[in-house]
């Protein structure tokens, strides 16, 4: 999985592409988020539009990232999850904790 970074105002958008599953990809996400927090970039938007599959390790990485950002007084939100990802976020109840948007402009302005 690849992660491209871009900024929109104070918000850093992480464009993920590829599956967010056990191994490199979930480590990659956790490490990237940790690095961003160290750089004091604490408003993060995870763009999941190019992530077809997420497994329980991927969920774990998202939870971990959310918690680290929250502890740094930041915010982590979700943008455009695929149908399957949204279903998973819905069943696991993560939609009740992770704010999720389908539109980038409103997502960015919500921070």
């Amino acid at each position: 999985m690849e992660i491209q970074l871009r900024t929109s105002g104070s918000v850093t958008i992480l464009d993920l592409s590829g599956n967010l599953t056990i191994g490199r990809s979930e480590e990659n996400l956790r490490e990237t988020v940790k690095r961003l927090i160290d750089e004091e970039r604490r408003f993060l938007l995870l763009n999941l539009s190019e992530v077809p599959t997420i497994d329980s390790s991927g969920i774990g990485a998202m939870i971990k990232s959310f918690t680290s950002v929250k502890e740094a007084n930041g915010k982590l939100k979700i943008l455009k999850p695929s149908r399957m990802a949204r279903q998973l976020l819905s069943i696991t109840g993560l939609l009740s904790v992770l704010e999720t948007y389908d539109d980038e402009t409103s997502a960015v302005s919500s921070f």
Binding site: S56, T92, G93, L94, V97
Partner: protein, 556 residues
């Protein structure tokens, strides 16, 4: 104190072992419990005994099928004399000799063994053709030995003895690479089939290095004349005339359409023989045989390694089996079902232990609690977390805490205690005799509620899974179950069960089954759904545990 005596056992390939007769009754038979175990089919499980009475050893047949023989005479009971030959049933592969240690050892007995004809000293040079033939015969004999269940050390010993014979060398060594990557002596033999003593030996290190590092056979004949630079100095100082060293390699076979390709791999050790004798030249044929021998050796070592791995795997499976028993013991077999509902549950673990768990708990005033959970991940770690969660739920429910508090505090414990990547999805509910059903769905697949009239709904509270965030307050929802209503709780192993085309069983199929089966009893509904799932998967191994609870309100 017993008179010292031994059994010398020589198998048909000349590998010897010695067993002291140190006990009043020494047992012989095919079963592993025997002091001497013989694996031949013609040996009975409990075949014979050697008993010590009145300062003498007696061989006693204990009702064997194929008889016991001393010096080829069948016996029922017989006093053993020094050098008596014992035969157990029709087992001709082992020569067993009774040795009375108080009489001077007559080691010559082994030279008289008809199987051991090929010592180099005896090998008269009749014709070279005959010799090559003998070498081949020896080689074939060793090949057969690999089919017998020998220990790795036996095999290595045999290989070196055969290598010495094939090349008519004086000494032979087998060295294997240890974990540090250095070569270690495993076998050091002379041409009289005896072990050479010592931890290190004067040998041509440079030849060994060359064969091992370059992964190729090295042959030096009459080395004083050898023009080759390899090893000249060390060879000279040792005055060795003939040296052969072949690498031992692990081969990887790849089956093609019609050919088997053998890929050359790194050397794992070397087989080395040498000789001082002038003119003891190593021929092309013997080198080819030596290389074949090295190939057989590594193959059989690999087999032995695989056998050990298989044994270890069995042990792990056994341990998982024990864990599984513990898990089954935690499942609610002793739950006394009140008369206002019926319940049926089923669990098929994907491995021996899984991360699914379920429980029914009796509360005060005929109320009951239900829990169905799924720990992320598989195996013993997941099962332990499942057992812990189940225990915590039981303890809190029985101390009459309300549902919301039970789940909220379990979540806090899990966030603090469990590894960062382990979560539990949980559906947890309480039921009152009047049908009052209170539930929390923490990230779990929503159970299907089918009303007696065939309408269905799913039970969710949109609460997040357990073990993720410590700040979450879990809030219950309520519904009322009427007589005839059915609730089917399940884990994703049910809806994500796959068929041969990798299609999932799916929520809709499950919901339809529940709707159509609502008039059946809880046990029948459970069985029906399970049958449908198993039909769907057609026996394909499933990646996840399959767990289900069916609850049905009785007519009152």
């Amino acid at each position: 104190m017993q008179k010292p005596a031994r059994l010398k056992i020589v198998n048909r390939f000349g590998v010897m072992r010695s067993l002291p007769l140190g006990k009043p009754v020494f047992t012989i038979g095919r079963k592993a419990e025997n002091d001497l175990q013989l694996l031949s089919d013609s040996v009975s499980r409990q075949h014979a005994e050697i008993v010590y009475e009145d300062d003498a050893y007696y061989l006693v047949d204990i009702g064997s099928k194929r008889g016991t023989f001393v010096n080829d005479q069948q016996i029922a009971r017989c006093a053993l004399q020094h050098l008596d030959r014992i035969r157990i049933g029709g087992d001709e592969d082992q020569q067993i000799i009774f040795l009375d240690d108080t009489i001077e050892r007559a080691s010559a007995i082994f030279d008289s063994s008809p199987r051991l004809t090929l010592t180099p000293q005896q090998a008269e040079r009749v014709t070279s053709a005959n010799e090559e033939l003998q070498k081949l015969a020896r080689f074939i004999e060793v090949n057969q030995a690999f089919k017998f269940s020998l220990t790795p050390d036996d095999v290595l010993c045999l290989i070196v003895d055969a290598a010495i014979e094939i090349t008519q060398a004086e000494r032979g060594f087998l060295m294997l690479r240890n974990l540090a990557g250095d070569l270690e002596f495993k076998v050091a033999r002379d041409d009289g089939r005896s072990w050479l003593e010592g931890a290190d030996f004067a040998m041509s290190r440079s030849v060994v290095e060359e064969a091992f590092k370059q992964n190729r056979s090295v042959i030096i004949n009459d080395s004083r004349e050898a023009a080759s630079g390899i090893a000249r100095e060390s060879v000279r100082s040792l005055d060795l005339r003939s040296i052969a060293c072949v690498p031992l390699r692990l081969f990887q076979m790849t089956e093609n359409m019609d050919a088997t390709t053998v890929l050359k791999r790194d050397a794992i050790g070397v087989l080395y023989v040498d000789s001082h004798v002038i003119g003891g030249t190593i021929t092309e044929t013997s080198i080819r045989l030596l290389e074949s021998l090295a190939f057989e050796a590594t193959k059989s070592l690999e087999n032995v390694r695989l056998m050990h791995e298989e044994r270890e795997k069995k042990q792990i499976e056994q341990e998982l089996g024990v864990a599984r028993q513990v898990q089954v013991a935690l499942s609610p077999t002793a739950f006394k079902v009140p008369d206002y509902f019926e319940v049926a549950a089923h669990n098929i673990p994907s491995r021996y232990v899984g991360g699914d768990f379920y429980d029914f708990i009796s509360l005060r005033d005929e109320r009951s609690a239900f829990a169905l959970g799924d720990v992320s991940g598989k195996g013993v770690a997941a099962a332990l977390l499942a057992a812990m969660a189940q225990g915590a739920l039981q303890a809190q429910f029985t101390s009459n805490l309300p549902l919301a508090e039970v789940v909220t505090s379990l979540n806090k414990v899990l966030v603090q205690r469990s590894a960062s990547n382990r979560f539990i999805t949980l559906f947890c509910a309480t039921l009152d005799p009047d049908g009052h059903f209170t539930y929390i769905n923490a990230g779990h697949n929503p159970p299907v509620l089918a009303r007696a009239n065939g309408e269905t709904e799913t039970l969710t509270t949109k609460s997040v899974l357990l073990g993720a965030f410590d700040f979450v307050e879990y809030k219950p929802r309520q519904t009322r179950l009427a007589p005839g209503d059915v609730v089917v709780m399940y884990t994703d192993g049910v809806t994500e069960a796959v068929d041969a085309d990798n299609q999932m069983f799916g929520d809709e199929r499950l919901e339809k089954l529940v709707r159509e089966g609502v008039h059946l009893g809880a046990e029948e509904i459970k069985q029906w759904i399970m049958d449908e799932v198993l039909n769907f998967t057609a026996g394909l191994p499933q990646g996840d545990d399959i767990t289900m609870i069916v609850l049905k309100m009785r007519q009152r």
